[in-house]
Subunit: 228 residues, 2 copies
């Protein structure tokens, strides 16, 4: 019995060891393969030109929000679905896994706001810098984003904080002429460059950090009407 | 006499031939060296961040306008001189030798307008696309540029022609958030990417040509007040 028990335990131990070793080995191999794929694949270099016709981006957002493997129900709205500049921009943003810096003059597009909130809920560290005078315009998403717990900082300057860029995972730069408003997306001639380019990412990230620190709320000045 | 004359003529011919050959050879060598230098030098990759402090750009413009070798007189104005984002943008534009496409929402900066007029006078083919609603704002340079003989086309759409890019010699793309206005240059947080990147240049040039054709004046619609 002892011998049989010891042999069973030894067999179990061997099996567990082998299984663990195999599992670790496979995990390591997968991680190495992913790293190699990331190194070898061509960096993203894309330009999105707007206007983007009105279209349904529900599938992109539901797919990103759903648990892996969950089937998305088709949206019953009458708008056309499929690929368009807005859906491509959404997908690029939704690829974030760790961090998202946003530096934006005006932000009122509900779909882009949903994507940012979704990333925040997913644990992505989202930081937003925006323009003080435009964050209060009708339809602005800044209040909602703050309410969702996302950090937002704004200027206190006479000039505009007129940048329109975002940085995904300190890896991908999204920049151009486009403010994230439905008016601009559906009606204006606009461009957005998407670049996985370490040199440009670094320059824009440095600019973001500079502004983030300059707009630190501890430096905000508050004036009463009498003191003006 | 004949022999001496013939020998002199032969010597002269030989000298001329040698001189011509040497000159052609040197010219060819210089052209080849220039082509090799262009191939080998690192393509321009730059980001200009604004605001740009008020500064004197007279030296850049006078240097570009002057005959080669002519000494520029120092400007007596009290503004600081030297390198700044605006002077760098000016220098990039002034490097144009053949063509300049400009696609711009708002254009009211006098220095940039002078640079564009200077290029036009130098024989560079300049084409401008702009926004109909913003080309009439106070200080707009569009009227002056048209008056100087530069081709300008504009939209007739409800949306804005909101691009802010230029292409130098079908070689260098200049694009970002910056409208070419003094307000934006001196007061706003803005970015301008400068890239010698054939892939991006082609995409933006295609966009320019698309818009240029769409905004062809033969397609403009004119409504009388009664017909509205």
């Amino acid at each position: 019995m002892w011998a049989a028990g010891a042999a069973r335990r030894a067999g179990l131990g061997l099996g567990l060891g082998l299984g663990l070793g195999l599992g670790l080995g496979l995990g390591l191999a997968a991680a190495l393969a992913l790293a190699a794929w990331r190194r070898q694949r061509r960096p993203v270099r894309e330009v999105l030109f707007f206007p983007s016709r009105p279209s349904c981006t529900e599938a992109v957002l539901v797919e990103a929000a759903a648990e892996p493997g969950a089937a998305a129900r088709p949206c019953p709205c009458p708008l056309p679905q499929g690929d368009c500049p807005l859906s491509r921009l959404l997908r690029r943003l939704l690829s974030a896994r760790r961090s998202l810096e946003i530096c934006l003059f005006a932000f009122s597009c509900p779909q882009l706001s949903r994507a940012v909130q979704l990333l925040h809920r997913r644990g992505v560290c989202v930081r937003i810098v925006t323009d003080a005078q435009y964050m209060g315009i009708r339809g602005s998403q800044i209040g909602l984003l703050r309410h969702a717990g996302i950090q937002v900082r704004h200027d206190q300057e006479d000039g505009y904080m007129h940048h329109k860029f975002a940085i995904v995972d300190r890896r991908m730069l999204i920049t151009g002429s486009l403010n994230w408003t439905t008016q601009a997306i559906q009606n204006n001639r606009e461009n957005v460059l998407v670049m996985e380019d370490a040199e440009y990412v670094k320059l824009f990230l440095d600019e973001f950090e500079r502004i983030w620190e300059e707009y630190n709320p501890i430096s905000y000045k508050f004036f009463s009407k009498d003191s003006k």
